[in-house]
């Protein structure tokens, strides 16, 4: 895993990204999802989170939760279609973990992927860096 610095933001080269600033790490048929360092810095202090439910069926692009920051409430989108198999319950009482470690302890939920080909529509680290630079 390599860290790529884009200004004051960090992008990791071992995962894929969405236009709505989620990251996805695919391991076999399970995808781990969180929000990027860029997203958490833009949101500033995260004070609450609503995550999807375990066993919930989600579609790529669907809003599946809410991130409550001191600035605003933002939707959390599912990058892929599938079934939610695990959520990071610790974030409900300690959402500040997302600010501290967005790519690690701050992961949000895991999906059993329905259609692996959907991953081709996600952004590569290079494309995500271009997106950040353009904003």
């Amino acid at each position: 895993m390599g860290e790529i610095k884009v200004g004051k933001y960090i992008v990791l080269d071992d995962r894929l990204y969405t236009e709505t600033d989620e990251w996805v790490k695919i391991d076999g048929d399970v995808a781990v999802v969180g929000i990027t360092d860029y997203a958490q810095k833009k949101l500033r202090d995260i004070v609450g989170i609503e995550l999807p439910k375990v066993n919930q069926e989600v579609k790529a692009g669907d809003p599946v939760g809410t991130i409550e920051s001191v600035k605003a409430a933002s939707d959390l989108y599912s990058p892929l279609s599938g079934i939610v198999v695990e959520v990071n319950e610790g974030l409900e009482t300690s959402p500040e973990i997302i600010n501290k470690d967005p790519y690690g302890e701050g992961w949000m939920f895991k999906i059993k992927i329905k259609d692996k080909s959907e991953a081709q529509r996600l952004l590569t680290p290079e494309k995500y860096i271009e997106k950040i630079r353009g904003e």
């Binding site: 810095k41 500033r44 202090d45 004070v47 609450g48 409550e68 001191v70 409430a73 959402p95 500040e96």
Partner: protein, 346 residues
């Protein structure tokens, strides 16, 4: 957009900038929660260079008619907060006033109202008004351990000020013992290059920088209002429960205040605390209900790091202002339980 004259040094010490009232200002440095707690437990400093600062010259009787607190007393040196009201008793602005002499006053205004205030004074008097906002930077140093960290105790009493003084070995234009966080401390007006040196000296003393987000959460814990969110030209000080006026003098808007004090008002400002554990923040305009009936609206809310819960303020029907009772606040279609509370919330 205006830029704070301290942005270069602030960028070096890690400021994250954002827009507020037409100014690019430090919103936070690390986390507003850490900065907030620094003020409550230690001390921190804020850049307030966006706040309007004006010099007013002329007859004090003329200014006295425009502002809600008496300027005529011999002992008066500094008053804050005070207000300027329109004929309907609504806030033109809430302000701080410093008396330099019988013919010269300084006024601190909300950033968003600076030009409006200058025009209001000119429109209602023959007073001379000079805008000093861009001549000086302004810093506030606040906190429970502020004197210990600064290494001295000021001779200034609360709400006293001096002009052309010395602070941390630097020549400053104005030094006042005042602030807007509920903690003790100082506010300083100084030339930008002097303020930069003061920032470096404060950092050396372990006084950390704090941004406007922490300032917002601190003022909400105390129940202090923010113009544009909690008060405006359609809100009176009586409705806002904001005692910023003297009753034994005349000023624009006084008739309305008298009438409301005699007859009561339909709505008043109250605080609320959401149940512990709820991590959703109601935003400006969200509805407050008691037994399914809408009784008011939220105007400000935040997560209080000190209390570990969501707090805020809003206006509810005065006949429903049951302090200590519960109400529901709707956040994204779902009702959350809140306790109607008086200020301060901590």
């Amino acid at each position: 957009m205006f830029k704070t004259p301290l942005s270069t040094v602030e960028e070096k010490i890690g400021a994250n900038f954002g827009e507020f009232a037409g100014w690019e200002m430090p919103m936070d440095y690390t986390s507003y929660q850490d900065e907030h707690m620094a003020v409550r437990q230690s001390a921190a400093f804020f850049d307030l260079s966006h706040m309007g600062r004006i010099r007013i010259k002329g007859k004090k009787e003329e200014l006295d008619k425009i502002v809600t607190r008496s300027l005529l007393s011999e002992n008066f040196r500094m008053i804050g907060p005070s207000a300027m009201l329109n004929e309907k008793g609504g806030f033109i602005d809430d302000i701080m006033i410093y008396k330099v002499s019988d013919t010269e006053f300084l006024m601190v205004t909300n950033a968003i109202n600076r030009e409006k205030d200058v025009n209001w004074i000119k429109h209602n008097s023959s007073l001379e008004v000079e805008d000093l906002t861009f001549d000086y930077a302004m810093l506030a140093i606040q906190g429970r351990r502020v004197w210990e960290l600064l290494g001295y105790k000021t001779n200034l009493q609360p709400l006293q000020f001096v002009l052309n003084s010395n602070f941390l070995g630097e020549d400053v234009f104005l030094l006042s013992r005042s602030g807007w966080t509920g903690e003790d401390g100082l506010e300083v007006w100084a030339k930008a290059e002097v303020a930069e040196r003061i920032i470096n000296k404060l950092m050396e003393k372990g006084i950390k920088p704090a941004g406007l987000i922490a300032r917002d959460s601190l003022r909400q814990e105390m129940g202090f209002v923010l113009y544009g969110e909690d008060i405006d030209e359609n809100t009176t000080p009586v409705e806002a429960r904001y005692w910023v006026f003297d009753l034994d003098k005349n000023f624009i808007g006084k008739e309305k205040i008298d009438e409301q004090l005699k007859n009561g008002v339909k709505r008043i400002r109250v605080g609320f605390k959401l149940q512990k554990g709820i991590r959703a923040i109601p935003r400006h305009g969200y509805k407050i209900r008691i037994l399914e009936t809408e009784v008011g609206e939220v105007t400000s809310s935040t997560y209080s790091p000190y209390l570990g819960r969501v707090i805020g303020m809003g206006y509810i029907n005065s006949s429903n202002a049951f302090f200590g009772f519960h109400a529901n606040i709707e956040i994204r279609g779902k009702d959350y339980r809140a306790k109607i509370s008086d200020f301060p919330l901590i």
